[in-house]
């Protein structure tokens, strides 16, 4: 099966029902995409398929064949994507484990809506962060978008 990941083509010999996450992590050795729940609840495994955020732990690899898959490693060569830079500027990550997924979700949100409202952020950013970095995630997204948080105004 041919997979196109981060603009590279890989030939993998796997069962069609194997979740894309495990192909990415254990066959292609791209470890930035994380496993946390396995049931598409938390979003730690979020990658883009043709630009759409997908929870790869519950997405069979066969369904990704022939599509453009982007992982956190493919977002930029040198962590220069504005969202990555904003994540550093706002010191978003704590343990960092969920942040690949958070960043992929945020990039997808901004691609669709360059100036998201807080409601847009709430709707798009459904990934779980056990460390509780949501406040800074929101601030970083607003920073990139040039918008301000209305959510916090009483």
């Amino acid at each position: 099966m041919e997979l196109r990941v981060n603009n590279q083509v890989f030939d993998v010999d796997v069962e069609p029902e194997m979740p894309l996450l495990w192909v990415i992590r254990d066959m292609l050795n791209l470890k930035g995409t994380k496993f946390a729940c396995g049931i598409a609840q938390c979003g730690a495994c979020t990658v883009h398929i043709d630009g759409e955020p997908v929870r790869s732990c519950s997405f069979p690899v066969a369904a990704a064949e022939g599509k453009a898959i982007t992982t956190i490693e493919g977002l930029s060569e040198d962590a220069s994507h504005p969202i990555q830079q904003a994540w550093i500027k706002h010191q978003v990550p704590q343990c960092g484990y969920c942040q690949s997924g958070q960043i992929m979700a945020a990039v997808s949100l901004l691609a669709k809506k360059a100036q998201p409202t807080d409601a847009d952020i709430n709707a798009a950013m459904t990934n779980i962060c056990r460390c509780g970095t949501y406040k800074r995630i929101r601030e970083a997204i607003h920073d990139v978008a040039g918008t301000t948080a209305e959510f916090y105004q009483a």
Binding site: D26, Q41, A154
Partner: protein, 720 residues
């Protein structure tokens, strides 16, 4: 118990002897690294300076998002008077640490201890290295050391105009005698301590390059999935692997420790799928009927037990005071078992070779991994090599017990020598085989006199004991002080008090869960203070203050938080407030919550003020981040958190039924940071302590409903 003092003096001795003599007395060659290649210079075990002026500071503890991999080296760098830009941070090698009789002190990263318990020796290490650089410069320049100054990584002699960077003098400094005594700076002179430097580990967390235990990849590695007995204390009666063993990639299927079935395969997903097809018969060993209701009944009996252990701080005559009180208030509170659920599930990679054992695992206790492998494999501790990685959350799960390391070692022992095996738990395994935050019940009773001052206070705490159950540590006078923290030293002046502790063990494994006793005792204590204020018809903030006249530090942070939310001005119509104060982990924290609740019980949190006084504060931005995160942690537990049992099995399994707060529910959190000096308080855990009672007190203010048990979903509340 003078163990820590012994360790400290030993540590000081080793630091000195290693630097002075090359450590030959210990069979070690620390400075020889510099002599060999002239590329590095270990000034002491914490500080290495390279010819290019790079300062490498060693970090002994773990990093799991709490930030001390940055803040602990700030302590060294400040006394060293280098530039922060010169600093590189490296983990201490665990094997070297073991061989040097724990020269770097505690590695375990628990109890919000890293800064407060190592600040003294870390600052001394920096000051000592600085003094040795000064001595080297004085010797080389032929001037008295007292005329030499150091600032921003430059060593200067003003009179002669001579200057040097650190690198040029490092080799000479390493040869200087270690000063017997160093004077630490006045806090007013700190220039790196107190600065909000960006965390050094964050860049790797934004591009996927951060390495966690789960990311270990080794040549020839195989993968293991595990199913432990779903009933605590149960064992494997039998299993049928005939179907599973035919699946693609499966290498072996076996049991370990008699209580878990393991599938090893060439890929973790394949192992995991095959495991689902192993038919396992479990032996419940008598625990197969236990339900949460059974456990609650045991705890209810503990509240009435006549053999509870009195606490050492009891004073006066509580019964007499209560008998003479104008009003008496009594309430019982209940906090459930909780799971840690860090985002990275438990797991470890182990490789056993003929002469060494290597382990890669996310941990809070590198030495705990060593102990587990010694116990599991019977190998000497010097043969164990722990590879250090970031932990994908810890929250106490990876500190008290390293059960996952034992499992990985036992699995590796079943495989051909030299085969690395990566064990990874599913989320379900993680949720159902935790060491849970203890379930506890509290009964509190107090009186009010004619001036509405508290007159007589009694509290009964019923809880299991983490250390007693996990490690057989005996209770001191029958009291588990981690379960009782929050009640042992009240900030309120109450002359007549009697509190006691009833140990209530169950078969459910217990562990240190972020903020430990302080995650639950304030739910009872600080709500009960509100109940007393309500009985007195007084404002709960001012009712607290009038009982805190003698506790300046507790008062201080409470007042700052009340001022920050504007307590004495009414909130907008329809909004209500709650407040609470706590004294956890050497810090002082208080919180105020403003919310509204609609007729359907939907809670809308408008503001949360989180205040902390850490005494000295190393990295303020990180302190804010920890308070923000602790708020999410507390609200999650308040709204949804409970682990329940039916037929001996944990019912919750994954994030769909063990819910987490998400972005849309994240309230505004404003942090109020104070560093009044004079002490070193913890940071990672204290923020949580006041949130839960402040939140519940606000719900009471809004609805008149007093929350005496958690989680809130059982009281008809939800979060907007």
């Amino acid at each position: 118990m003078n163990k820590s003092a012994t360790n400290l003096s030993r540590r000081r001795f080793i630091l000195s002897s290693a630097a002075v003599s090359g450590g030959f007395a210990l069979g070690l060659n620390l400075p020889s690294k510099a002599q060999q290649a002239n590329q590095s210079n270990d000034i002491n075990i914490w500080v290495e300076i390279r010819p290019d002026d790079t300062v490498t500071i060693k970090y002994a503890r773990c990093e799991m998002g709490q930030g001390s991999m940055t803040s602990a080296p700030q302590l060294v760098a400040d006394e060293l008077d280098c530039n922060w830009d010169q600093v590189r941070i490296e983990y201490v090698d665990v094997n070297e640490h073991v061989r040097m009789e724990r020269a770097w002190g505690d590695m375990v990263t628990v109890g919000s201890q890293t800064i407060r318990n190592s600040q003294d020796y870390l600052r001394q290490a920096g000051a000592s290295a600085r003094a040795m650089l000064v001595a080297a410069a004085a010797s080389e320049w032929g001037v008295p050391p007292s005329e030499i100054s150091v600032a921003n990584g430059v060593i200067s002699h003003a009179a002669s105009g001579r200057q040097s960077g650190f690198g040029a003098l490092a080799a000479a400094a390493a040869a200087q005698p270690v000063p017997a005594n160093v004077t630490l700076k006045d806090p007013a002179d700190w220039h790196i301590i107190g600065q909000p430097f960006p965390r050094v580990d964050i860049p790797a967390s934004v591009d996927g390059s951060q390495v966690y235990g789960i990311d270990t990849e080794l040549p020839g590695m195989v993968y293991a999935a595990i199913a432990s007995c779903p009933i605590f204390g149960g064992t494997v009666a039998s299993f049928d692997a005939s179907k599973a063993s035919t699946r693609k990639g499966v290498i072996d299927i076996f049991t370990i420790d008699g209580n878990a079935v393991v599938v090893v395969a060439d890929n973790w997903w394949r192992a995991s799928k095959a495991l689902q097809e192993v038919e396992i018969q479990w032996d419940a060993n008598g625990n197969g009927d236990v339900s949460s209701e059974d456990i609650l009944n045991v705890f209810r009996a503990s509240l009435d037990a006549t053999d509870a252990a009195p606490m050492p701080n009891n004073a006066g005559d509580a019964d007499a005071a209560l008998a003479g009180a104008q009003k008496v208030v009594e309430a019982e509170y209940f906090t459930p078992f909780l799971s840690h659920s860090p985002m990275e599930p438990m797991g470890a990679t182990v490789r056993i070779d003929s002469d060494r054992v290597d382990i890669w695992a996310s941990t809070q206790a590198p030495e705990g991994l060593v102990s587990e492998l010694v116990n599991a494999l019977g190998v000497p501790q010097e043969s164990i090599y722990v590879h250090r990685v970031q932990a994908g959350g810890g929250f106490g799960r990876r500190g008290g017990s390293s059960d996952f390391a034992r499992q990985a070692a036992l699995i590796a022992a079943e495989l051909p020598q030299g085969t690395p095996v990566k064990l990874l738990w599913t989320r379900e395994e993680d949720t159902q085989h935790d060491f849970y935050r203890p379930l506890a019940m509290y009964r509190v009773k107090a009186g009010l006199d004619e001036n509405n001052m508290i007159s007589g206070w009694k509290a009964r705490i019923a809880s299991g004991s983490i250390l007693n159950q996990m490690r057989g540590v005996p209770l001191r006078g029958g009291v588990d002080f981690t379960a009782a923290e929050g009640f042992t030293d009240l900030p309120y002046q109450i002359a007549d008090q009697f509190q006691d502790f009833k140990l209530t063990p169950t078969h459910v494994p217990l562990g240190f869960w972020r903020t430990v006793g302080w995650s639950q005792t304030p739910f009872a204590r600080e709500q009960f203070i509100d109940e007393l204020a309500a009985a007195a018809g007084e404002d709960p903030y001012h009712f607290r203050l009038k009982h805190m006249a003698q506790d300046e530090l507790s008062r201080h942070i409470l007042v700052e938080v009340a001022n920050a939310i504007g307590w004495d001005k009414p909130p907008p119509a329809g909004n209500f407030r709650g407040i609470a104060t706590t004294e956890p982990y050497g810090s002082f924290t208080a919180a105020a919550v403003e919310l509204s609740v609609n007729d359907a019980g939907v809670i809308n949190i408008h503001r949360i003020i989180q205040g902390i006084n850490t005494g000295h504060m190393v990295n303020p931005d990180n302190v804010s981040a920890q308070l923000e995160g602790a708020t999410v942690w507390a609200l999650t537990a308040a709204m949804w958190g409970e682990i329940t049992l039916e037929e001996g099995r944990v019912q919750e399994s994954n994030f769909h039924n063990y819910r987490m707060l998400r972005m849309s529910q994240m309230p505004e959190v404003e942090t109020v940071l104070h560093a009044t000096g004079g002490f070193w308080g913890g940071v990672g855990e204290p923020g949580q302590a006041p949130i839960l009672p402040a939140f519940c007190n606000a719900i009471y203010a809004a609805t008149g409903t007093r929350i005496r048990s958690l989680p809130l979903v059982h009281h008809g509340f939800s979060l907007a």
